[in-house]
C-alpha cells in the first residue's frame, strides 16, 4: 500500500535562511508527487507537482522540489524564506491507477524575523 511520510512535524527557520522539508513515499508502482501549502484558515493550495520527466520541479512562490526515485524522496526546498511562507506544508502521492491522493501528516514551517 502506498504511504507518505513527512519526518518533521515542525521546522523553525529564520527569515532569508534556506529551508528543506522532507517527504518520503513508499510505492511499488510509478507515482505522481505533490506539495500543497495551507495558510491559516485556508484550503490547500498546489505548490508544485511531479508527474514525469525532469526530476527537479519548480513551483510557485520560489519553491522547488527534487524527485529521487532511488531514495523514494520528494524534498521541498526554498533558498531564502519569507515571513509569509509560514504555513503548513503537505506532501501527497498519487498513482496511474487511482484518482486518490495519499497525504502526509504535514510539516509546520515557522519563519521567524
Amino acid at each position: 500500500a502506498q504511504s507518505v511520510t513527512q519526518l518533521d512535524s515542525q521546522v523553525p527557520v529564520f527569515e532569508e535562511a534556506p529551508v528543506e522539508l522532507r517527504c518520503n513515499y513508499s510505492s511499488s508502482v510509478s507515482v505522481y508527487l505533490f506539495w500543497y501549502v495551507q495558510y491559516p484558515n485556508q484550503g490547500l493550495q498546489l505548490l508544485l507537482k511531479y508527474l514525469s520527466g525532469s526530476t527537479l520541479v519548480k513551483g510557485i512562490n520560489g519553491f522547488e522540489a527534487e524527485f529521487n526515485k532511488s531514495k523514494t524522496s520528494f524534498q521541498l526546498r526554498k533558498p531564502s524564506v519569507h515571513i509569509s511562507d509560514t504555513a503548513e506544508y503537505f506532501c501527497a502521492a498519487g498513482g496511474y491507477n487511482t484518482d486518490k491522493l495519499i497525504f502526509g501528516t504535514g510539516t509546520r514551517l515557522q519563519v521567524f524575523p
Partner: protein, 111 residues
C-alpha cells in the same frame, strides 16, 4: 481563475441538527472529493465521485453522513444528526486527471 467554492464557510449548530455543506467543483472537472481535517486525525478522505458516480465512501460514517452529486455543478455532504465529534473543517476538492484543487473549506462547530 477557476476555483472550487464551498458554502457555508462557517457553521455553528447544536447537537442533533442536520448540517448540509455544498461544493461547486471547477467547471469541467470530473472528480470530486470530500475531506475532513482535524488536529487529531489530520486530513481524512471521506468520499469521492467520478463523473458524479460515488466510487468510494469507506472513510465516511455511514449511519449519519451522506454525500451526493445531484448534478455536475453541485456536490453535497450531509450530516444527520450532527454530533460534537463532527466538529472539523470539511474540504471539497475537484480534479481532472491526477491533480486535485481544494476549496476554502467549511468550518463546522457542533455544540
Amino acid at each position: 481563475d477557476a476555483r472550487v467554492t464551498q458554502t457555508p464557510r462557517h457553521k455553528v449548530t447544536e447537537m442533533g441538527q442536520e448540517v448540509t455543506m455544498r461544493c461547486q467543483p471547477i467547471l469541467g472537472h470530473n472528480t470530486v472529493f470530500w475531506y475532513r481535517q482535524t488536529m487529531m486525525q489530520g486530513l481524512e478522505l471521506l468520499a469521492y465521485f467520478r463523473n458524479r458516480a460515488p466510487l468510494d465512501d469507506s472513510g465516511m460514517p455511514k449511519d449519519r453522513f451522506s454525500a451526493e452529486m445531484p448534478d455536475a455543478t453541485l456536490a453535497t455532504l450531509k450530516i444527520q444528526p450532527s454530533e460534537p465529534r463532527d466538529s472539523a473543517v470539511y474540504f471539497c476538492a475537484s480534479g481532472l486527471g491526477e491533480t486535485q484543487y481544494f476549496g476554502p473549506g467549511t468550518r463546522l462547530l457542533v455544540l
